[in-house]
């Protein structure tokens, strides 16, 4: 356990970070404001990133900071654009099947926790001389290049898919055509009028219908 021979400071830091990660992770689903929820999630991710750095995986920890900072900002933007109650002005608790969800969460924790406590894993810590960033780089651009490149290709496919899905011109005509808001209660009347088409092309189409 040479390379993992960390001091008391690391243990205290880990304890604080672990508490922070769990508490903020829990608060994500217990806050009234959806924007605040996304920032709680960001704090949880950053705490895990710092723990990764404590574990000598510097590259992954820092990558986590950057990725999550951007992701959660995007998430907060989406909250403001689409969701009700982004600022938490009203109490909010929008849940369904909560008992089952609590049960599944607790069961997941207990099963995985039992595995952590009861299973025996090999005790093979990172060797003292290993440079984690260099070894990761060599792996990604050497032996595992195909995997790395495939991930890039999948990300490109995702970009195309995202544009197709979110385009204003839907696959079967205008995406917002005939769009009606859902009823206030299940099966009730729509709570509003159909959305006005913003695009010039859609407006033109509408115009023709009237004549």
């Amino acid at each position: 356990m040479e390379s993992m021979n960390h001091g008391l400071g690391v243990d205290i830091a880990f304890l604080l970070l672990a508490t922070l990660a769990v508490v903020t992770g829990w608060r994500v689903f217990r806050t009234d404001s959806m924007v605040r929820a996304s920032f709680f999630l960001l704090v949880s991710f950053i705490a895990v990133g710092v723990i990764m750095i404590l574990l000598a995986a510097e590259y992954l920890g820092v990558a986590m900071f950057f990725m999550m900072a951007v992701e959660m900002t995007v998430m907060a933007l989406f909250m403001v654009m689409f969701m009700m109650n982004p600022a938490g002005l009203n109490p909010m608790n929008m849940v369904h099947q909560e008992r089952i969800a609590i049960g599944a969460g607790v069961a997941g924790f207990l099963i995985l926790g039992a595995m952590a406590l009861l299973a025996t894993f090999p005790d093979q810590p990172v060797p003292a001389g290993l440079e984690p960033v260099r070894s990761l780089g060599n792996e990604m651009l050497g032996e595992s290049m195909l995997i790395f490149e495939s991930a890039g290709l999948v990300l490109l496919t995702t970009m195309i898919g995202v544009v197709v899905l979110s385009s204003h011109r839907g696959r079967y005509g205008a995406a917002a055509e005939g769009s009606m808001p859902p009823g206030l209660e299940p099966g009730g009347d729509p709570a509003g009028k159909p959305e006005e088409d913003e695009a010039g092309e859609g407006g033109h189409h509408h115009h023709h219908h009237h004549h």
């Binding site: 672990a18 996304s38 895990v48 979110s166």
Partner: protein, 101 residues
């Protein structure tokens, strides 16, 4: 900081994530639950790499792959939110009652 405590932390994050993914009605809150699950998975992967894997580089690579999965999940999730909002003006799972376009 031992492998056991790290795995317990990962299990806690995954458990909270399962709760969130199953209980939340808002699409984006549901995605936050999925993200928390992946957060725990990444932590467990790094913990195994550091304590049980003798520092093999594939352990770190696995975490990179999970990060890519997370990016894909977020991007596709938001695209689906936009598509559902255009079609149904809805931001809640209950509003989607069919698989029509």
């Amino acid at each position: 900081m031992t492998l056991t405590t790290l795995l317990l932390l990962a299990a806690a994050l995954i458990g909270i994530g399962i709760y969130g993914a199953l209980s939340q009605q808002s699409f984006v809150m549901l995605m936050m639950g999925l993200e928390l699950i992946l957060n725990g998975v990444m932590l467990a992967a790094v913990a195994f790499w550091a304590f049980s894997g003798a520092g093999v580089p594939e352990g770190q690579l696995l975490t990179i792959i999970v990060m890519a999965v997370m990016a894909i999940e977020m991007a596709m999730g938001f695209a689906l939110v936009v598509a559902a909002f255009r079609g149904k003006q809805a931001d809640m799972t209950e509003s989607l009652t069919g698989l029509k376009h």
